[in-house]
């Protein structure tokens, strides 16, 4: 008999993503967050008699783009089916979805697991995508007092359901998958993935088994709306299933809900109560040919994969993992960084440090955190960044040339962020230019070491106390009003002391 410690959890996710489009998926009505209830509806959304749905090209193209991002097969054609059910969140009594002929087949998402420490890169693996299908979102019900209120603003919003293979083996892997997926979707412009606005929702399938054994009976926890809910659901469901099996009971195939406030799951319905959706091909929407010309055009819009970019930053530019991972998490930031490097290719690390630390900190000071991923850095936009990439390159160049010290660079950076001026202009205006004139500096050094007040320090240094030299640097720096290059002072002072 196996011991209780060698249970393996098997996780598959169904991720529902609202696509970034102007109009709804089968109707011309617009959609967006924060409108008055039922303002964003039209006769097609409401399924009124005599209306016909028309497929939104933008929604199909965003779906194809997702497929290309994950290296999926884009089939020659896709088609829609009616999923019939009676619930007031859908005015038509059926949801338009794709059962047999989805728009995206296969593909995979590369994920990065947490490393042993913050600055060490973790293991990478690939999670296979089974398929992704394009369907319509449904309306929202709010239950108040004796009645229920229906808002159809969300009904008909394009929803891409991304279904993974059961490739995930831990809550950490599920978290890493969702982070990578969100990054890929947002960086390609497929979706905004703002979980606070309900733009990304997740169904989580969990089963356990002993490694190598056939898959166990799974449960599906529906409608999770944050990465932490997915993580907590996996942890909760794994523990529950182990407890059940070790007590000699069996797992029931059931649909479950998650109460984030209580931190526990609950049964929604078991298999006997499963819906019979009576799918059939929708007669209103013809089968859609996905032309190869369109696929080729969209392929050109696929951005560099974020982990490919991370590898390039580490291997080619020599960035440490921490800086590289911060930069690649935001495509706009990464592209900004690359423009800056192009203006001063000699020191990508220096530029990366300023971008990943100072620039990001100042930019996100005014930003807000995302709802979906509490652990992610605040999303920043570089469109309103007062510093241009070439200007930052200029600052790093001045530092590299010894014109200003690293400490002074921080001060200049703060001023650049405030005023948008070039680094050189600020350095001149503030009189920060370091004194690298050896003649003048040698004169000052001679005056300082001639002062009897420092004779003791000189004697100690000459006697082998290395630290004693520092006592001389302060007076020298003071007499240059802090403008001298510290490296140069050190070099000349040692020379003067013989």
């Amino acid at each position: 008999m196996s011991s209780s410690s060698d249970w393996e959890v098997v996780i598959g996710l169904e991720v529902h993503v609202q696509l970034h489009t102007r109009a709804k998926v089968f109707a011309s009505s617009s959609w967006g967050f924060g409108q008055e209830p039922n303002e964003q509806v039209d006769p097609v959304v409401l399924g009124l008699p005599g209306t016909l749905p028309v497929v939104n090209r933008e929604a199909v193209e965003k779906s194809i783009l997702f497929g290309l991002v994950v290296g999926a097969e884009i089939p020659a054609r896709c088609a829609w089916d009616r999923k019939n059910y009676f619930y007031p969140d859908n005015p038509k009594n059926y949801q338009l979805t794709q059962k047999d002929f989805p728009v995206v087949i296969g593909g995979s998402v590369e994920i990065e697991l947490p490393g042993p420490s913050r600055n060490v890169m973790g293991e990478h693996k690939h999670v296979r995508i089974h398929h992704a299908h394009l369907e319509e979102d449904v309306g929202k019900l709010s239950h108040a007092g004796s009645g229920s209120l229906v808002d159809y603003n969300r009904a008909g919003v394009p929803l891409l359901e991304i279904v993974t293979e059961p490739d995930l083996r831990s809550s950490a892997e599920a978290e890493a998958f969702l982070r990578a997926l969100v990054a890929m979707l947002t960086q390609a412009g497929v979706a905004d993935c703002d979980m606070e606005k309900g733009q990304l929702r997740c169904d989580c399938n969990v089963s356990i088994r002993h490694p190598g054994a056939p898959l166990g009976t799974r449960t599906e926890t529906k409608n999770l709306n944050s990465i932490s809910s997915v993580r907590d659901t996996v942890i909760f469901e794994t523990a529950r299933q182990i407890r059940e099996l070790e007590a000699g009971r069996t797992i029931t195939q059931e649909t479950r809900g998650w109460n984030a406030d209580l931190g526990r799951g609950y049964v929604l319905r078991d298999k006997e109560d499963a819906h019979d959706y009576r799918y059939f091909p929708d007669p209103d929407i013809p089968t859609l040919e996905l032309s190869r010309a369109t696929v080729e055009r969209l392929a050109k819009q696929v951005p560099e994969n974020l982990f490919d970019r991370q590898r390039r930053y580490m291997d080619t530019l020599g960035l440490p993992f921490t800086a590289a991972s911060v930069l690649v998490a935001n495509r706009e930031l990464a592209e900004w960084f690359e423009l800056s490097v192009a203006a001063h290719p000699a020191n990508p690390q220096g530029i990366a440090n300023l971008v990943a630390n100072d620039l990001l900190r100042d930019l996100s000071a005014a930003g807000s955190t995302t709802g979906f991923d509490e652990a992610a850095p605040a999303p920043v936009s570089l469109s309103s960044c007062p510093i241009k990439p070439a200007q930052l390159a200029g600052l790093v160049k001045l530092t590299d040339e010894g014109v200003i010290s690293k400490q002074q660079a921080k001060e200049v950076f703060a001023e650049m962020f405030k005023s948008g001026q070039d680094a050189a202009a600020i350095v001149d205006a503030k009189g920060l230019r370091q004194n690298s004139d050896t003649g003048e500096l040698e004169k000052i050094i001679q005056e300082v070491i001639a002062d009897p007040a420092v004779a003791k320090s000189i004697a100690e240094y000459r006697a082998g106390n290395e630290k004693a030299i520092n006592a001389l640097k302060g007076p020298i720096m003071k007499r240059t009003q802090g403008k001298a290059n510290p490296g140069l002072i050190d070099q000349l002072l040692r020379k003067a002391l013989g």
Partner: protein, 144 residues
């Protein structure tokens, strides 16, 4: 309200078709009925197309018998469905078809039915017009 309007407002045939449609799409039956019917439809279309590659137009009566009395077959839905035996295949096969009055059986009017290849509407209409021009009863009314 929904129950009442549907029980009173829908006739027997409509209810029969709703129930039948729900049944054949149910889990476990969809394959046996619905998907099998789809395959049958594909076969019907293929046979029509094969026939229409040999000839321009297929000609049949529009219906198997002259008009029957109101209510005469109401108790036998199968007999009623058989009245459509010549017209329904064109719908299933997705082909254009044209019904042309062509004479009388006793004092009741009868017609024939032309089926053509996809997008052959012009040819069917031209054939119908030729027939009407050659015969005198295009504008006659049946003596009831």
């Amino acid at each position: 309200m929904m129950t009442n309007s549907r029980s009173e407002g829908f006739g027997a045939e409509v209810k029969r078709r709703i129930l039948l449609g729900t049944f054949v799409l149910s889990a476990g039956y969809a394959d046996a009925y619905y998907n099998r019917a789809l395959r049958a439809r594909a076969k019907i279309r293929a046979e029509y197309l094969a026939a229409l590659s040999q000839v321009d137009i297929l000609l049949t009566p529009t219906v198997p018998t002259p008009a029957f009395k109101v209510g005469e077959k109401a108790s036998d839905p199968l007999q009623l469905y058989l009245e459509d035996i010549f017209t329904i295949p064109a719908n299933l096969a997705g082909l254009p078809a044209l019904s042309v009055p062509c004479g009388q059986s006793g004092h009741l009017p009868v017609g024939f039915h032309l089926v053509g290849a996809p997008l052959s509407e012009a040819k069917l209409l031209a054939a119908g017009r030729l027939f009407e021009a050659a015969h005198g009863f295009a504008h006659q009314q049946a003596a009831l």
